[in-house]
């Protein structure tokens, strides 16, 4: 059994069995990360370049740790101190790096579809670490892993994705994954931040009332307001957004049940989520970060396992 794909470009391209294989492999890597020695020699003959054309803290560190725990050789590239600033094209940059014998590319780019474009032109396996407003597959996988770990299943769960849906690659990857795994999905937030075509295109529910969404769900995955991607005012002020859509202790206390609170980070405390909620026992935000390393180790292992089939 192996993945049906050579690259990890998006959850859209994965089969349900691929997702299950990644999640079950991640369980074994999570155990590895509890050992006194957290490093395995699995990818000692593999070189990976982390190509980050866009800022990142968690994802870049998480990938780098995953690669190092697997004993891969790691090269980091950030656009701010590279020749891309001198006008080199993406394909030229990558081909130059690959000519130095690199086996895998982990890539983040502000342009949607950038890793898909690259996949058409190079042989190395590519992992999408976030492309524009399209997909962020490893985030959706670690979210699913964390839900499954806490609640024992994904199928049948009611998951509300709340906030800036329009500019969120996390939302899209999560929707693809949750639908493939048999969960029910609702998106919630201000009408200006939710594309209405999602309802039909993805077969999900849209709820503009945040309290109703919270009352419906088992899991609330709360997203950051991505001001850097908004080139026009889509809501009046951050304060008002917090009043109308922010996750507050007050809102959670009104529910007569416990729900799981997730957030892919970075959190804008006091905007989409209040500090006391992020720090509360409902929140599994730091579990998500911890699980991210194990899930990314699983993706790297399963993808590199195919690079030179016998």
């Amino acid at each position: 059994m192996a993945l049906t794909t050579k690259h990890l470009l998006g959850i859209k391209d994965l089969q349900t069995e691929d997702i299950q294989l990644i999640l079950s492999t991640a369980t074994q890597f999570k155990e590895v990360l509890q050992r006194p020695v957290k490093k395995v020699p699995t990818l000692r003959d593999v070189t990976i370049v982390n190509l980050f054309y866009e800022n990142s803290t968690r994802t870049r560190i998480s990938f780098e740790l995953a690669e190092k725990r697997l004993s891969a050789d790691v090269v980091n590239f950030t656009v701010s101190n590279s020749s891309a600033a001198k006008g080199e094209t993406l394909l030229d940059t990558v081909n130059n790096i690959l000519s130095m014998k690199v086996d895998m590319v982990v890539m983040r780019h502000s342009a949607s579809g950038a890793p898909h474009y690259l996949a058409k032109h190079i042989d190395a396996a590519i992992i999408n670490a976030g492309d524009g407003i399209n997909e962020h597959p490893t985030q959706a996988l670690l979210d699913a892993f964390s839900m499954q770990e806490k609640l024992g299943k994904i199928a049948g769960l009611k998951v509300a994705i709340i906030g800036d849906i329009m500019h969120s690659r996390v939302a899209l990857s999560n929707i693809y994954l949750l639908k493939k795994m048999g969960a029910e999905v609702m998106v919630s937030g201000p009408p200006t931040l939710i594309p209405t075509f999602l309802k039909e295109a993805m077969d999900i529910q849209i709820e503009y009332n945040i309290d109703k969404a919270l009352a419906w769900c088992d899991v609330a995955n709360v997203l950051r307001i991505q001001l850097e991607r908004q080139n026009q005012p889509l809501f009046s002020s951050l304060r008002e957004y917090n009043l109308a859509y922010g996750i507050t202790m007050n809102r959670l206390n009104k529910l007569n049940k416990e729900i799981l609170i997730m957030h892919p980070g970075p959190i804008n405390r006091g905007v989409e989520m209040d500090s006391d909620v992020a720090n509360s026992p409902h929140s599994i935000i730091l579990d998500q970060v911890e699980n991210g390393v194990a899930v990314r180790m699983a993706c790297l292992y399963l993808l590199t396992g195919r690079t030179n089939p016998a």
């Binding site: 079950s24 155990e31 590895v32 006194p36 957290k38 399963l302 030179n308």
Partner: protein, 174 residues
């Protein structure tokens, strides 16, 4: 062709358990670790036999998966099973259990994996079938169910009731 029959297998398991106890009386400072996936069937049986001789709390038993330590990761994708070592192996005698000792590469990987958990004072090896002439590394068992002559190019298959519906060891012709 049958190498070990359903009648012979329980006697061999019992003998291996007794030999382990003879060498490590009371399993003092010793732990049993079965190798995933197929060594665990044998270690389950041996541990059951040890429970007949010792109080349950004297038998420390864990399972180890060596997938991430293999030397052929790039040739073939292997899927990992659970590792469960609910005790420290630091300074202990570790008795590794696997079903068939063939090239020795699995045991090499297992020794590597063990070191991620601590520094055992001694590692010893117990196998059901020893295919000695096929060894590719300098690794020998301490407790052997049955030693075999050169069986190349055939495959030795150990079958267990839990998984294969029958307890025996057969020779498979590809």
């Amino acid at each position: 062709m049958t190498l070990i029959s359903e009648q012979q297998l329980p006697s061999i398991v019992k003998r291996l358990a007794h030999q382990i106890l003879e060498t490590y009386p009371g399993l003092t400072n010793a732990v049993i670790i079965g190798l995933q996936p197929r060594g665990v069937y044998l270690s389950d049986r041996i541990v059951a036999a040890l429970h007949n001789e010792l109080p349950a709390d004297q038998v420390q038993y864990g399972k180890l998966d060596i997938t991430f330590y293999r030397d052929d990761v790039r040739r073939d994708l292997h899927l990992a099973k659970a590792t469960d070592l609910p005790f420290s192996i630091e300074g202990k005698t570790v008795i590794l259990i696997d079903d068939v000792l063939f090239t020795g590469r699995t045991i090499r990987a297992a020794l590597d994996a063990l070191l991620s958990f601590g520094r055992p004072s001694k590692v010893s090896l117990c196998v059901l079938v020893d295919r000695k002439p096929s060894r590719e590394l300098p690794i020998q068992p301490d407790f052997t169910g049955k030693e075999m002559l050169d069986l190349t190019p055939y495959k030795v298959k150990v079958r267990w009731k839990e998984n294969d519906g029958v307890d025996d060891v057969i020779l498979l012709v590809d």
